[in-house]
Amino acid sequence: MNIVVLVKQVPDSGAERTLSSSDNTVERASASNVINEMDEYAIEEALKIKEAHGGEVTVLTMGPAGATESIRKALSMGPDKAVHVQDDALHGSCAVATSKVLAAALGTLNADLVLCGAESTDGRVQVMPHMLAERLGIAALTGARKLTVEGSQLTAERQTDEGYEVVTAPTPAVVSVWDTINEPRYPSFKGIMAAKKKPVQALSLSDLGIDASSVGAAGATSEVLEYSKRPPRSAGTKITDEGEGGAQLVAYLTTEKFV
């Protein structure tokens, strides 16, 4: 099975994140950047499927030059190769444009299965798998907490608010996964060394036949008008339980009219 995993480099959610003051895009240059955590689960799922059914795993990333670091990290877990779509004109791309670029890149890769994390920690927009399926005319199975592959038939348990749905589709398909699906492996020393030699193919917009003015800030379908920081919450009253903590808590809740 030919598997492509979408990997996004994001600013570390454990550090302070902001929008760039010059153009209101996510500040990536000065941020501490990491692989989007949920994507590691997609990589793990891809490797497990390859181990069970054979095939090849390719990492696909769209991002600036610095994203190479996350690509090498992804490769150190075990994928065979990577494709890096990189072009200065992509800066400021909206989700619609991003889906156009990724769909074009996927078009060159002939994937049976496209795996990705259910959402990224920066935008948390959750739209990419369905946007790609829409563009490619293939199936999307999203929010999977379990995935079964039988020949060319995929079955997933899709997490819902009420419980889960069992969904099925034929390959080729895009599948997004939650972090409940598996436990990603840590890269081994051997894996880290091997990743340095794995092929990373660079693709530009002209390689993909995409007009630069249709993506990036120039082709964006939405615009940030203003950004402001929310004032941080401040600590209120803190008491230490000396036998009456529960009663004091309820007294507070009563004052605030919750009880």
């Binding site: 959610s13 902001t18 739209v127 369905h130 946007m131 749905e165 589709a169 939405s222 402001s228 209120g236």
Partner: protein, 316 residues
Amino acid sequence: MAEVLVVVEASPAAGVKKVTLEMLTIARTIGSPSAVVFGDAAALTDKLAEYGAEKIYNATGDDVENYLVAPKATAVAALVQQVQPAAVLLASTQEGKEIAGRLAVKLDNGLLTDAVDVAADGTATQVVFAGAGIVKSKVTRGLPIVTIRPNSTTPEPAPATPAIEPLAVTVSESDKLTKVVERVSEQKGSRPELTEASIVVSGGRGVGNADNFKLVEELADLLGAAVGASRAAVDSGFYPHQFQVGQTGKTVSPQLYVALGISGAIQHRAGMQTSKTIVAVNKDAEAPIFELADYGVVGDLFKVVPQAADEIRKRK
């Protein structure tokens, strides 16, 4: 006045979800709200009318109900072409966002997700970076397609008498690639839904084990609250993932958030720090959760919570 399409979020158990009423309330500031219902609309009509739906478009049948997302996006896209609405509002839930994503591609149109408000001119207010920032943004190509986060606004009734218009949907073969073969409910009791609840009581690693979550549930039920869990509690198998609050789970914004045995790692704060009032019980006085709690109790939750539960019973 131009129509504003509101894609209804409902469930068999809960009926019309609160976020739908919030969307109808916001829609009225932009234009004339038209609800779009997938599946049987009969049980939902009264509520939609009460909150101001001037029209109800209803699409039913196996083609829209038995396949994942794609047929719904096709239906909404056709409706957009037909009525040229001023905006399309959807819930900022997994499915709402997914329909919005497909719709944006079909119409080559911008979209904005996780909005907490939309102004009459379509400018959306979004909370970003786990509640650390606020963004005002606008769709610059096409009409505003905006997903609204639950608990963004107070639903205001505005009784209307909507006509129900059946919506015929012509779906393509590629819309029918992903079949929904089974829907399984894992509901626990009759608690409000996590993202919509006005009070959420959550347990963390400090709860200790799955059995002890009964304590969290008991306090939640006394407060009429939903139950949530931190990632540490979910990863340890104390509580199911669909109740996880935080970066890789749900974002909640209730009137009151009660954190029991939760240290308050940044990934958890990401999912709850826009709550109006935050209360925490933790035995570690240095736990970061206290930095954002309006009221914090440093103590053993196995003593504090039962006492609080007894006290609430007394006051009832």
